[in-house]
Amino acid sequence: MAETEQINMSVKIGRLKLKNPVMTASGTFGYGEEYADYVDLNKLGAVVVKGLSLKPRAGNPPPRVMETPGGMLNAVGLQNVGVEAFISEKLPFLRKYDTKVIVNIYGENYDEYKKVTRKLSAAKGVHAVEVNISCPNVKKGGLSFGADPKTAATVTRKVKEVTDLPVIVKLTPNVTDIAAIAVAVEKAGADAISLINTITGMSVDIFTGRPHLKNITGGLSGPAIKPVALRMVWQVLQNVSIPVIGIGGIMNAEDALEFLIIGAKAVQIGTANFINPQATMEVIGGIKRYMEMTGIKNISKIIGTFKA
């Protein structure tokens, strides 16, 4: 018991101090309240909420989800209550907890990103923003902001201009050169980078000849994407010096430790929450047991110990 007390799992993402490196991934944990009966939110490093836009969004018609080998496809279509309803209806609940609240945001154009960020910066109880740049840039014919270093950098700069909150930029894996995007957002002032978002995929019902998802394509998540996520996080880490948060297919503590060992300062748990509502707690417990087992007292002694 005495030994356990000494274990230090806290990490720093720039100015943002977390009690442990485990957060929830945006879109997989609602606004926190959906899982509050299953998880003591106080024990999480941070809660990252569903991506918010300036105005509420209805999202895509169903079917929106489909299981595929080792994962799932989703085409929720960024359904959300809008930033104002979030601040008035969802944030007061989260404020009651002793955890960090990271708000994931997206926009259709630069102005929307700025407006959402401004509103959040004025609200009490938001500790950081995570900028989703995987969504389509309407002006550029739907190509995602995150697919081009220039647009990725511009979004980052616009958001940084209007806030003092730490800004985490969340990268899309649907690019040819992830390192170039990471370098561009770092130069544009990002405080941290998180990756990966979902990988675009599709699946077909052979009996009807139709796509399983109404939207035809969707984002792949879950254990199937972990090796890709790990590779991309590693590539980014070799090219930037700001903190990196690893996301993608993390199901348990072993998966999380792989990301920490290659140098991620923290991790996010997504699809695993659906399979086990207590997945985040099991990851935290598992990392702690690993530290006890290996005699490591401080988590910083794990992060970045990768021997290539």
Binding site: E34, Y35, Y38, D40, A58, E67, F274, I275
Partner: protein, 271 residues
Amino acid sequence: MKNVYIGEILKNEEIAQDCFLMRVALHVSFPDPAAGQFVMVRVSGIAEPLLARPFSVYSFERQNNSCALDILYRVLGRGTQVMAGLLNGTQVEILGPLGQGFEIKQNKKNIILVGGGMGVAPLTYLALHLNNYMCSSFSTMYFYLGAQNDEALIGVDELKKLSCTAITCTDDGSRGEKGLVTQILLKDLKKFSPEETMIYACGPKPMLKALAKILRKTKYSCQVSLEEKMACGVGACLGCAVPVKSRNSKPAYKRVCADGPVFDINEIVWK
């Protein structure tokens, strides 16, 4: 704090072709499910299927130091195939009971249950509930149950144990009345006064859609239990969207798992 329950399979029998009855023993602390609620079922320790699958509560019994949950399921794809192969003693993870069940209105004299295929499951549990707890407040209960043919007509024997009038129908006339369950209901509907009648329905989407059409310009109250593909089952992923009517006629969705699975039939957009 709520938990995922680890249940143990007591029984997993094929009661008709591709149709199974699974009984799962659960810890006493498992809450009493309301009629119309569902559970998410996952086989412990396996990678595929990854996501849990939703099933209605078909029956629930509480003993002194444990409880038993029954689900009735049809084998359709990977998840239900794996379930069908499970032996007694296998552990399954049960999340629930989940969702908003049927609303019971004390002032309705006539109860009409309309089920198609596996839709019989939540309605049988509801009928049992009404029998046990509400017997004085309503006078008649009719159970319209339809399927393609005699083989596919599941759960009729259970209905016989309840105090309700069961009307069975098959598309090919191999058992009971010949025709779609909604057509048979339509023939009888005028016997029931709209103000004093509550209709509860669960079944394939085309059946519910036909029912919505029949009831559209009437004053009958009707609650339907819907199905949609799910990932989380608790309202977090927004995967299980169902289109609902909105004031400005712009698209709007509710979550089958958390806002439903039971909805007022008039709330849904039946495209």
